[in-house]
């Protein structure tokens, strides 16, 4: 037998005798328990997400008394339902604006040389490093009635537009803040698309526009979906930007939650709002899931 054995004394294939004196005891290695690698993140999620979420949910059913009264209140107050609807509508608009702005930008990032690509990536990331509050305040300066945008419009001889404290202003500001979350996943998918596929389509007789629509666009859709989900979900919970750029007619749900919990100290109603938002988001994602299911594996071998 040329087999090497860990227990030279015991020899052969016999199982190790229990309690036998061995060499240095083998420590349990990390590789044997890959799930250990997820522990720090899991602990943080349980502490910072799971526990508060549980508390909030419980309170929505128990504060001030056990029952569904907070949910009855939510759906019987027209303003809540209007704001819930508006929150989803603003999130949808932000997502649409982000897709339209990010798609050509991400494509350009795949088409240029490495130096230009670095510049383009920096253009995406530098605003990302600046706090959202600061960027939103910059939008206040730009969008206000006497701001740069309105000054230019008036200079051209048109009437000024009301941007600040409108839904349009909120969408513009939020789209700018969230744009990197759309560009980066789109870029990572587009980078994997073999451009020779477009050449192949052209050689088979496809006009450039058709080759784009039938070959490139479908292959880039996973990136569009990934970015859209991130942007949409982040939009739903946005607080600072709508608070600073919006008016009373563009209040989003997070502002209502804030006033219920912090101003009125009504944890039950605030919790119910949070749960409604969460459930509505899950339902929406479940509806969108079949759309995003890929029937093919991404072929980005090169």
């Amino acid at each position: 037998m040329s087999q090497t054995s860990h227990t030279p004394a015991a020899g052969g294939d016999h199982p190790r005798p229990a309690g036998a004196v061995q060499g240095p005891q083998r420590r349990p290695r990390l590789a044997a328990y890959p799930s250990l690698l997820a522990m720090p993140a899991l602990a943080l999620l349980i502490a910072a997400m799971g526990y508060p979420l549980l508390t909030v949910t419980l309170r929505s059913f128990s504060d001030p008394a056990w029952g569904l009264q907070n949910y009855f209140w939510f759906f019987s107050t027209p303003v809540n339902v209007t704001v819930l609807w508006r929150t989803f509508s603003i999130a949808a608009w932000v997502t649409i604006v982000c897709v339209i702005a990010a798609y050509p930008y991400a494509y350009l990032m795949t088409a240029v040389g490495p130096r230009m690509r670095l510049v383009l990536i920096l253009c995406v990331l530098v605003p990302f490093w600046v706090s959202g509050v600061v960027r939103t305040l910059a939008w206040v300066i730009l969008l206000q009635d006497s701001g740069i945008i309105n000054s230019v419009i008036r200079l051209l001889g048109f009437d000024g537009v009301k941007l600040i404290r409108t839904q349009t202003g909120v969408v513009i500001g939020m789209a700018q803040v969230l744009l990197p979350f759309m560009i980066l996943p789109l870029y990572s998918v587009m980078r994997g698309i073999d451009l020779r596929l477009v050449q192949a389509a052209r050689s088979l007789g496809a006009r450039p526009a058709r080759a784009f629509l039938q070959i490139y666009l479908p292959l880039s859709l996973p990136g569009v979906f990934a970015g859209a989900i991130i942007v949409f979900i982040l939009s739903l919970g946005f607080y600072i930007t709508p608070a600073l750029l919006g008016g009373p007619r563009s209040t989003m749900l997070s502002t209502l939650v804030q006033s219920q919990v912090l101003s009125l100290l009504n944890w039950g109603r605030g919790g119910a709002m949070g749960v409604v938002l969460l459930v509505a988001t899950f339902v929406l994602l479940a509806l969108a899931a079949p759309l995003m299911r890929q029937r093919h594996k991404q072929a980005s071998r090169s």
């Binding site: 192949a200 050689s203 007789g205 292959l219 093919h296 090169s302």
Partner: protein, 372 residues
């Protein structure tokens, strides 16, 4: 079907003075090439020699700086790629990953507005031709490399183009599969009668497949001819070294009358006729034209003889292959049949060949530089 019948389906290609510059770099330098209808023409050369650029120019992916390009007698220089009606097979298959095999092959027909019935018939025929008919409902990612390339081939021929371009289609496949697909491509070429232009850097593949081969080097065509012509009658040292194995001998040259002779490490050999232009001569010898002999046996009339030492002896079954290091340090490759007395490493031998079997060529520094 008769040969003349199928030949009509292929188009003649005329490339005239094709030049492509990228800034200071000249990728194609005044390339002219005529390809007969239905011919299998291989563009052979090392990477960066201009063969792929030529293919991209014909396909319409690259614009010419100057020159003309005609398919079937009509200039297509001004036509965009999608109007050229030329089939292209790419090295990395370029199958659309989000479409099934059937949809991939039907794509060019859909673009041409063909109705479903006629389309299905042609798709089945094309897939039958590459023996992939059972895979129509699979996605490309579920196929092996060889299967994907056969589907790509079906997609490129399904719309019956008069010209098919192939850019190193077998480059990503292993040797066995490559050899089998070479025969498949040859068969499909015979059955279709379409003009094939095939790019490769593999000289063996070029010899297996082609009617004629154009050897590219540094953006120019060195020589165009059948495999036999290129092997037996190379016009440049580059072609001689690129196609098949060879030994090149250099030495001090003397010309007397119509005869050139070389002196190599003190031994004089007759090199052949006179070289035009007074360029530095080099003698080129194919391995099977060389033989080894004991230094004691005298050379026959009309034979050259050079002394060297066997530095490698390989038994090949059908014969033996020797490397002989000559006294000037150059290495000769000799292939001999089994009857010859075996020599072993370290033996001092005479390298012999008939004067008529040697090829006298102009020396060319480029040839060594580009051989890797």
């Amino acid at each position: 079907m008769s040969a003349s019948n199928t030949r009509e389906r292929g188009a003649a290609i005329d490339i005239k003075g094709a030049t492509k510059r990228y800034g200071n770099f000249t990728a194609l330098d005044d390339v002219s090439l005529h390809i007969e209808p239905g011919e299998f023409m291989t563009l052979l050369g090392p990477s960066g020699s201009g063969k792929t650029t030529t293919l991209n120019v014909v396909a319409g992916f690259t614009d010419l700086t100057s020159g003309d390009l005609a398919v079937g007698g009509k200039s297509i220089v001004a036509l965009p790629a999608h109007k050229r009606n030329i089939g292209v097979v790419f090295q990395h298959y370029a199958l659309f990953p989000h479409m099934t095999v059937g949809k991939n092959v039907a794509y060019p027909l859909t673009l041409r507005g063909m109705d479903k019935q006629a389309r299905d018939r042609l798709v089945v025929r094309a897939l039958d031709m590459v023996k992939m008919a059972d895979f129509a409902h699979r996605y490309p990612s579920e196929l092996s490399g060889g299967q994907q390339q056969r589907v790509a081939l079906a997609r490129a021929i399904v719309f019956d183009p008069p010209l098919l371009l192939m850019d190193e289609p077998l480059g990503a496949l292993d040797k066995k599969l490559r050899e089998w697909l070479q025969l498949e491509i040859k068969r499909i070429h015979r059955e279709l009668g379409t003009t094939f232009v095939y790019v490769t850097h593999d000289q063996e593949e070029a010899l297996v497949l082609s009617d004629r081969i154009a050897v590219f080097n540094q953006g120019r065509i060195e020589q165009v001819g059948t495999g036999r012509q290129l092997y037996d009658e190379p016009t440049t040292l580059f072609v001689a070294k690129f196609i098949g194995e060879s030994t090149s001998l250099r030495g001090a040259a003397q010309t007397s009358g119509n005869e050139t002779s070389l002196t190599i490490a003190g031994q004089k050999i007759v090199a052949g006729g006179k070289l035009a232009g007074g360029r530095k001569p080099v003698v080129l010898l194919r391995p099977e034209k060389l033989s080894l002999a004991s230094t004691k046996t005298p050379a026959a009339a009309g034979q050259n003889s050079l002394t060297g030492e066997v530095s490698e002896a390989i038994y090949l079954g059908s014969g033996s292959k020797y490397q002989v290091t000559l006294r000037d340090g150059s290495v000769a490759i000799v292939r001999s049949s089994l009857e010859a007395t075996p020599f072993s490493i370290g033996d001092t031998v005479d390298l012999r060949w008939s004067v008529v079997d040697a090829k006298l060529l102009a020396d060319d520094d480029r040839a060594d530089m580009t051989m890797t």
